[in-house]
């Protein structure tokens, strides 16, 4: 099917300048780049030998920190009125690449601050409908066989701004920043439950944190036995206090709130406990007045992280459009990108490894001619589910749901290169 093309005519994959996803892997890119390079051959000055090349640098530090010049790569914090540690902080995806969120930038949602837990005093109690109630120390759990899972955690309220009537004039971080992805390592919850001996009448469990709010959620026992982890490590180091030190529950693919941090207690029950967070919060209010309850897995979703609002385009020419896609139901199989508001779509390259319940980075080359464009991305997962348009999601569910918004986001690019959040 591929035609023989002259290098100066890269293959168009969709309207408004979207190029074939394989372009960067072929000789074509050199040819496209050459135009931009042509005016850079003016009289050259010698490259300066900077001071840091002429004196030894800083000493070792026990725990490394980012460059002081990367000071803008930080979380955006929003506390609930009258509190300092209750609320959210959001990941700056527009300033990151790859798939793993650095531990200091993982999003946070706290209901009563970050507890200062002495690991020697911390206990994990497993009780309720079990034959042998058991209490575990951290030291005990450290002796268990462990597993690692690269998994995203996404707050159910992430992207909720898109339920608003008018597009919020903000970017990736305020809209989609309640999503992060890490490699979590720890003990399979099933191992501990088997040791405690699950009573056949148990169908659910209550997971409860040791924070001041005693954050608690009901989890189906089947999920606990399937792939739940008592996570002790986050990206190779002890789980950060803001993410549940010394241990948190990891339920791959499930809404963030259920991945209970500072986990202190698991109680097996016949039915759900109907906690505050699974009734008055984290339920989706529909137009008919009913509310959807127990919406556990996060549906397939994607976002373009670059270009995005706040990152004004430079000169016309070749750009890479990149972003993240994820699904709580499995693997991402396809991400399509549009530069004309959904009129035409090009398939983006998926960067491996493509893991289930994890984020997948996608990339697509784009020749921006300097004119207006509306960028969108659309994810498909291995269950065949396709991320819906914003209009379809709202037509199906209304706009009062607050949670689980997974419709398509649009970035409008104006003549001149300013990028804004738009509805298209």
């Amino acid at each position: 099917m591929r035609k023989n093309k002259r290098p100066s005519e890269p293959e168009q994959a969709a309207g408004n300048g979207l190029l074939d996803r394989r372009l960067f892997l072929t000789a074509g890119v050199a040819a496209i780049g050459s135009a931009a390079l042509s005016d850079s051959t003016a009289a050259a000055e010698a490259l300066p030998v900077e001071p840091w090349m002429k004196t030894p640098g800083a000493p070792f530090t026990p725990y490394g920190q980012p460059s002081k010049y990367a000071g803008k790569v930080v979380r955006a914090v929003a506390s609930v009125p009258g509190t300092t540690g209750t609320g959210t902080s959001r990941t700056p995806h527009h300033l990151l690449d790859g798939t793993i969120t650095p531990n200091g930038l993982h999003f946070e949602r706290h209901h009563a601050g970050v507890p200062d837990i002495n690991p020697e005093a911390h206990r994990l109690l497993i009780h309720g409908l079990v034959k042998r109630p058991l209490v575990f120390t951290l030291d005990a759990l450290m002796r268990y066989p462990m597993e690692s899972r690269v998994a995203f955690i996404e707050c159910a309220g992430n992207s909720g701004l898109l339920y608003q009537k008018e597009p919020a004039q903000v970017g990736v971080q305020p809209i989609h920043g309640l999503l992060s992805c890490a490699e979590w390592s720890g003990v399979r919850l099933a191992t501990l439950l088997e040791e405690a001996g699950v009573d056949p009448s148990a169908q659910w469990l209550l997971a409860e944190g040791a924070d001041a709010s005693g954050m608690s959620r009901s989890v189906p026992l089947a999920k606990a036995m399937d792939d739940a982890l008592i996570a002790i490590y986050q990206n190779g180091e002890p789980v950060r206090p803001s993410n549940g030190y010394p241990m948190r529950l990891l339920l791959p693919g499930y809404e963030g709130n259920m991945n209970v941090k500072w986990l202190r207690r698991i109680k097996l029950t016949e039915g759900p406990t109907m906690t505050k967070d699974e009734t008055s919060k984290y339920t989706i209010l529909l137009n008919d007045g009913k509310s959807l309850q127990f919406c556990f897995a996060q549906e397939a979703k994607s976002m373009i992280t670059r270009p995005s609002p706040g990152l004004t385009m430079g000169s016309p020419g070749l750009y890479e459009i990149t972003g993240l896609a994820w699904s709580g139901y499995g693997r991402i199989t396809k991400v399509e990108v549009s530069a004309d508001g959904g009129a035409s779509w090009a398939q983006a390259a998926l960067q491996g490894p493509v893991l289930p319940m994890s984020v997948t980075r996608f990339r697509l080359p784009w020749r921006w001619e300097g004119g207006p464009a509306v960028l969108q991305s659309r994810a498909t997962d291995d269950s065949g589910y396709v991320q819906p348009s914003r209009a379809k999601l709202i037509a199906d569910r209304g706009s009062r749901g607050a949670y689980h918004f997974n419709g398509i986001t649009s970035w409008g690019i104006a003549e001149g290169g300013e990028v804004k959040h738009v509805y298209a």
Binding site: H127, P133, E194, E195, A212, T273, M274, K276, S291, C295
Partner: protein, 176 residues
């Protein structure tokens, strides 16, 4: 000695019954006694399981509310700076931003007890006595018109309170 042997015998029988997973696990959990568990087992099921002794009335609850809750939740649960607690179905009418309150949204009264006891007041959680929690729950239910001004809330009456939005929830099923 004979008790110990019996226990050991029972343990090995269990290990055989429950197969390889149990036998091969490190088994480093310590048995937890009912006394140890009691102080942590604070969750209240929707049927009332776990509710402690004690009781409270709306009148008693008003005093607790004014002292401990009003600063964040406003006069008579009107809200501001934090969540509004009192208000009817008109606050959920279509065409406006929904305001969910205890009265118009919470499906189970037991949840109020569970949540207030474990998490409120925000800066002093677990400081209220059980009687005070019952009283605050009674006050909020009364302000929302769910119980009468002179009703008493305790372990027997709380699970029988029928919340207005009790049937307002549909269990999510993908693709529906």
């Amino acid at each position: 000695m004979s008790t110990r042997n019996t226990l050991l015998g029972a343990c090995s029988a269990l290990m055989v019954l429950h197969g390889a997973a149990l036998a091969e696990g490190p088994n480093l959990g310590k048995a937890a006694s009912p006394d140890e568990i009691a102080s942590w087992d604070v969750s209240i099921g929707p049927g009332g399981a776990g509710l402690p002794p004690g009781s409270g009335t709306p009148q008693q609850g008003e005093q607790v509310y004014v002292a401990k809750c009003l600063a964040c939740h406003g006069e008579k649960g009107a809200g501001k700076p934090n969540d509004r607690l009192v208000g009817g179905p008109e606050l959920l009418a279509p065409g406006q931003a929904p305001v969910k309150t205890v009265g118009n949204f919470w499906p189970y009264a037991t949840t109020i007890f569970d949540y207030v006891r474990r998490a409120m007041p925000l800066n002093e959680p677990k400081s209220l006595r059980d009687d005070e929690v019952y009283a605050v729950v009674a006050y909020l239910l009364s302000l929302n018109g769910v119980i009468g001004e002179n009703d008493t809330i305790d372990a027997r009456t709380l699970p029988t309170v029928r919340m207005p939005n009790r049937d307002g929830f549909v269990r999510f099923s993908r693709g529906r």
